[in-house]
């Protein structure tokens, strides 16, 4: 009898379990999700009230499977663009999701794009909103767009199926290596905004008009957006971005080609890796900084320069001058925008606490007045060529 009761009890348990197996309250079928891959946030002030526009790219639910249909439709059908407008951010987000029967799902989303106006005026609010949302991830990219974020999302991907994949790959593997930009992630960006001694930068993407006949509008990740406290204040172009990378970041596996002029001949320094060290020097009341940059690379197209052991030394000094120029450009821009995105004051804070405490709120001023000395030690490790210079008659 007892055994029978036990078996009965177990049976009931098993049946109960099958009821539980369907999931809890929060279970959502994949078919019910709208997988958001990119979100663009635009802000405008119209007739005295805030207008937020949120544009999202959502995976096309009908595009999975590699049927023949898909081949005919081609790329661009992989994801769908949705847009919503509202008086608050949340309002706009709900507005765009009202266009679809599925509920938005952000766990696979790779980047936030901010329109220029939004970045200039409302970056604190936006960061607060996305950083504290539980579905976002620390490695979501922070991208500022020139003009409206919507335009970038409309332009779509150039090569990849999905714009989100393309942006992610670009930011992660190519941007810093080629020296075009730097993939800024959410956790770093927020930490910069919150820190008491450093300003933030964000990746910059712009829509470029078609150069080639027949091509559509394309996106280009080039340069950086510079913030002062929580406001966008300006841009860095490609060369200044390289200066930023040389000073503030560590480059490894680089594929950066830097044109250098020597004896009126242009050749390319192919930068493979770089390391930098910032030192803060305090003498009396005067604060100055010394940056030591060490790079390794090769000279690829030698443009008729014969690279013997002695020549390399001369070439190296030409490269040093050029790299110093690039780094100085970034420093000058930093002083011009009054935004210490290169991390000089951070270094001062970390190593010279007494001086830092005297500065208080005026730390940006102290950086603006400080001298910056840049020492570059560039090495040419290889020529990258398998033979000597060819004797071609001219």
């Amino acid at each position: 009898m007892k055994k029978r009761c036990l078996i009965l009890g177990l049976l009931i348990l098993v049946i109960l379990q099958s009821a539980l197996l369907t999931g809890c309250w929060s279970s959502k079928e994949v078919e019910k999700l709208a997988i958001v891959t990119l979100v663009g946030i635009d802000y405008a002030r119209e007739n005295g009230s805030d207008v937020w526009t949120v544009t999202a790219r959502i995976l096309n639910p009908n595009a999975n499977g590699k049927g023949e249909d898909q081949q005919s439709t081609g790329k661009g059908k992989q994801d769908i663009l949705l847009q919503g407008k509202g008086r608050t951010q949340q309002d706009a987000i709900l507005d765009y999701s009202a266009h679809s029967s599925r509920s938005p799902f952000y766990a696979h989303h790779s980047a936030y794009l901010f329109g220029e106006e939004a970045a200039r005026k409302k970056m604190a609010d936006i960061t607060e909103n996305i950083m504290r949302f539980w579905q976002t991830r620390p490695k979501n990219l922070m991208i500022v767009t020139k003009g409206k974020a919507q335009q970038v999302l409309e332009a779509g991907a150039a090569v990849d199926n999905l714009l989100s994949n393309e942006l992610k790959e670009l930011a992660e593997y190519k941007a810093a290596a080629t020296g075009y930009s730097y993939g800024v992630i959410m956790s770093d960006f927020t930490a910069w905004l919150e820190s008491s001694d450093r300003d933030a930068v964000a990746s910059l993407v712009k829509v470029v008009p078609p150069d080639l006949p027949g091509s559509d509008r394309q996106n280009l990740m080039e340069g950086l957006a510079v913030f002062r406290a929580d406001k966008l204040v300006g841009w860095l172009n490609k060369e200044e971005t390289r200066g930023y990378l040389l000073i503030a970041q560590k480059i490894s596996r680089g594929q950066m080609s830097i044109p250098v002029k020597k004896d009126d001949k242009l050749f390319s320094y192919f930068l493979g890796s770089s390391k930098s060290k910032i030192e803060s020097l305090v003498t009396g009341d005067k604060i100055s900084y010394r940056v030591t940059i060490k790079t390794l690379g090769e000279v690829d197209d030698n443009a008729g320069i014969e690279l013997g052991a002695d020549d390399i030394r001369e070439v190296e000094s030409a490269i040093n001058d050029r790299l110093r120029e690039l780094a100085m450009m970034a420093v000058d821009k930093s002083k011009e925008y009054d935004s210490d995105f290169l991390g000089f004051s951070e270094k001062l804070h970390r190593s010279k606490l007494v001086t830092w405490k005297k500065l208080g709120q005026d730390w940006r001023d102290s950086f603006r007045e400080a001298d910056v000395e840049i020492v570059v030690d560039a090495k040419v490790v290889r020529t990258g060529k398998i033979g000597k210079k060819l004797n071609i008659k001219q």
């Binding site: 539980w134 620390p138 490695k139 820190s195």
Partner: protein, 337 residues
């Protein structure tokens, strides 16, 4: 890693977590010394010998309350974490009920089952933890720990109060000591356990600090969870948080089962009951209801955990054992026989 520690001690939070372990060692020493005087008695029993019947029962009852509150806090943290990070639509009471039921089952089987469970789970727990910490080490930036002790030593001490009340939970030995096979070794073994906890808590704090920096961590509700989300190696290794949640849940189940057992067992001793099983039912109800209704929302819970709880916790973990030991020394009481 508590956000409050980082908020108070900033980049020196890792020193604060190290410093906090002092509370654990003090508590261990007190409990160990008391235990050696009364090797066959638990705290409610020697409390009565030392303080007399009434006062002893009150102290015993207070410890029941302490275990109960710790367990309710753990259960509530568990359900809050799940509702915030994984299943926002599910009501917290469901999680509370599920974990209390599991805990009740384990507790009804006795302390040995819980101990064996812990033994079995420990490697399952440690391996992913080491894996996770190892995977983020390449991203560490040691510079973020500078300037060293920026605000002096005071914020570090303030920041260490919360983790100190965690280390102090080693006070559970006041009940467990008579059940241990070799009570004489308890101080050494306990110290080893504390050192292990110290190592993992400090390295966790250190690594989280060097990746996110002190400003960001102070504002995060679950810094370690965020750290796990940070792990991303290409398309292959990412979204580790599901592994982490699984492992963490196993740990929580053990903790809840263990404190559940302590609540029931101590109650039975205070009330001089023969067995603790009848109390399981009442305790289940109290814990589910307590975890669900004691706090209205998460901010209230974290406020309580970081401001109100630590002094109480430390009172039971260090204060009361100290008083009992003092009384024992003054009245020259030892266990009879």
């Amino acid at each position: 890693m508590p956000g409050i520690t980082a908020e108070r001690a900033k980049q020196s939070a890792w020193i604060a977590t190290m410093f906090a372990s002092l509370a654990g060692f003090i508590s261990l020493w007190l409990v160990g010394t008391l235990g050696l005087r009364f090797p066959r008695h638990t705290l409610p029993q020697y409390g009565e010998i030392l303080l007399g019947k009434t006062l002893g029962k009150i102290v015993g009852g207070a410890y029941v309350l302490y275990f109960l509150v710790v367990n309710i806090l753990v259960i509530r943290e568990f359900s809050d974490f799940l509702t915030i990070t994984l299943m926002p639509e599910t009501p917290g009471v469901i999680f509370n009920a599920i974990i209390v039921l599991i805990g009740a089952y384990a507790a009804s089987k006795g302390i040995e089952v819980i101990a064996r469970m812990a033994q079995f789970v420990l490697p399952l727990f440690l391996f992913p933890l080491v894996l996770i910490l190892g995977m983020v080490t390449p991203n560490m930036e040691l510079g973020k720990l500078q300037p060293f002790l920026e605000g002096g030593i005071a914020p570090v001490i303030w920041g260490s109060v919360v983790p100190a009340s965690w280390y102090g939970e080693i006070v559970v030995l006041v009940i467990l000591l008579p059940m241990v096979n070799k009570p004489r070794e308890i101080k050494r073994k306990g110290a080893l356990a504390l050192l292990a906890a110290l190592f993992f808590l400090t390295s966790d704090t250190l690594i989280t600090l060097t990746i996110f920096g002190p400003d960001l961590i102070g504002d995060l509700l679950f810094p370690f969870w965020y750290l796990v989300k940070y792990i991303e190696f290409g398309n292959y290794v990412q979204r580790m948080e599901s592994l982490f949640v699984l492992v963490w849940m196993i740990g929580i189940v053990i903790k809840v089962a263990f404190f559940y057992y302590l609540v029931c067992f101590t109650t039975s001793q205070v009330l001089s009951l023969k067995g603790y099983k009848p109390i399981l039912y009442i305790a289940a109800l109290v814990q589910i209801l307590g975890a669900t209704f004691l706090f209205k929302n998460t901010p209230q819970l974290s406020e309580f955990l970081s401001h109100n709880w630590p002094p109480f916790g430390l009172l039971f973990e260090v204060g009361l054992p100290l008083i009992l030991l003092a009384v024992a020394v003054i009245r020259r009481k030892h266990a009879r026989g």
